[in-house]
């Protein structure tokens, strides 16, 4: 069974090809050009492993939070691949990915920094959420981490643990695979939409 993981939430673009639960191949690209790199890297990985794209059995997509454009690229490619290949797609959030990747005897604080602050979440040592996903400005963040600094974990990705985790999750209808943004934009502060698009 072949699974393809797409992670575009951060500066580094990560594509990983699993055979069963083992990492068969992976590539990290740090050129910060996910739009033009993501598909060629997927194609390269498949080619160098002599694997036709139709041999893929499962998609795994990191849906954010992180770079808005980044997660949209990953989610769009992931849902289009799953839909056209008619294979299951599973999702994991970037914050959960870091929490399960890094072991700790204590609670775990996961932060993903950007220019003005950070996305974060606070977990127990066995990865149960204590504080839901948030985005805090630098100032609010300093206040928040005062008593939690010692629990801050590394943002390293353990691909085996990520696979173990998604194995226990349910596949999602590709139409419903969408990024999570956490940070809402100025024009739409509550993130709610009263009018959905319509077919013409």
């Amino acid at each position: 069974m072949y699974s393809l993981l797409i992670d575009t939430h951060d500066k580094d673009l990560l594509i990983c090809l699993y055979k069963d639960d083992e990492v068969l191949d992976k590539e990290v690209n740090s050129t910060m050009n996910h739009a033009s790199k993501c598909m060629p890297i997927i194609d390269d990985i498949l080619n160098r492993n002599n694997l036709d794209v139709h041999k893929l059995n499962e998609l795994i997509v990191v849906i954010g939070p992180g770079s808005f454009t980044g997660v949209r690229i990953g989610a769009t490619i992931g849902k289009m691949l799953a839909y056209t290949l008619n294979i299951p797609i599973k999702t994991i959030t970037s914050l959960d990915m870091y929490a399960i990747s890094n072991e700790s005897d204590n609670n775990k604080l996961v932060l993903i920094n950007d220019l003005k602050g950070a996305y974060g979440a606070y977990y127990t040592s066995d990865n149960k959420i204590i504080d839901e996903y948030f985005y805090k400005s630098e100032e609010a963040l300093n206040e928040y981490i005062k008593d939690k600094e010692q629990y801050l974990i590394n943002n390293e990705i353990n691909l085996i643990k990520v696979k173990e985790y998604v194995n226990k999750t349910e596949a999602i209808n590709p139409h419903k695979v969408n990024p999570i943004y956490i940070k809402e934009i100025e024009a739409n502060k509550d993130g709610k939409r009263s009018i959905e698009p319509r077919f013409q």
Binding site: M39, D43, R72, T76, T84, I185, R193, I195, Q200
Partner: protein, 335 residues
Amino acid sequence: MKDVYILGIESSCDETSMSIIKNGCEEIATTVLTQMDTHAEYGGVVPEIASRMHTENITIVLEDLLKKSNMTVDQVDAIAVTYAPGLLGSLLVGVEAAKVLSLVYNKPLIATHHIAGHIYANNLVKPIEFPSLALVVSGGHTELVLMEADYKFKVLGATKDDAIGEVYDKVARVLDLPYPGGPNVEKYAREGKHTYDLPIPMNNKDLEFSYSGLKSAVINIKHNAEQRGEEINKYDLARSFQDVAIDELIRKTKQALDEHKEVKGVIVAGGVSANSYLRDEMKKLCDEEHIDLCIPPMKYCTDNAAMIACAAYPKYLKGEFADLSLDAKSSLELY
């Protein structure tokens, strides 16, 4: 020759659209999902919200297209996508989706310019005759383009400042008319009389356009009326503005025709080509000049993927294909 089917994708602004076109001129099926009502709440397109909605709906639009066309992606010969110009985040959703289709179904990928799409939409009506004069009028463009052959574009004149569609939207805001501004200004203009004195833009002999002066004049009339505690007549101001703005397009088109006697036909392209006053006046001009006029039907004037698949056809015949590293560009000249 074997029939060629091209699947087009368009997501440059607030419409997610896919279409299958046969031989660059025959529509098999088109799906357009519009976000217009969502953005109307904000008085204009919010780029981040537009990008989010494209991602949410991209596979839904594909599913609808395949159902409507009764075809599979396997049966098409190429995948075409708008890669420029437009809202970057929105364009990227279409571009990445197109690349997935290209990889999964092993089909060539064709990068298409959005404005070329508006021009080539005319092939859905009748084949473009060369040389043609195209008037491209939209929220981002006001250009007279001489088209000598497929993809041989020569810009004879363009706007020095605001695009005509942009000014329509601005005037709509000044008159407190809801989004989308253009069609609402036109609706009011139909009920009004030309009573306000507005300056004629670029009252000179070249083919350049300028709409910022006209825009300012409309703003000033509203402002001065407010200062005096008077009400403006929205219908009359809309009419006065429209007369001046559209007459300028007609005047410059006539001038271009005078300078280029070799032109066989006039094409009007872009969102503003949906404007009835422009359509009527252009018809009158072309009748007087005894020249062929082609304006796409209303449904092809707004953004759609049918036009993108049409514009891709000449590139398909020439074998001009893009690869999986294709990136979107927010701005890019046509030529």
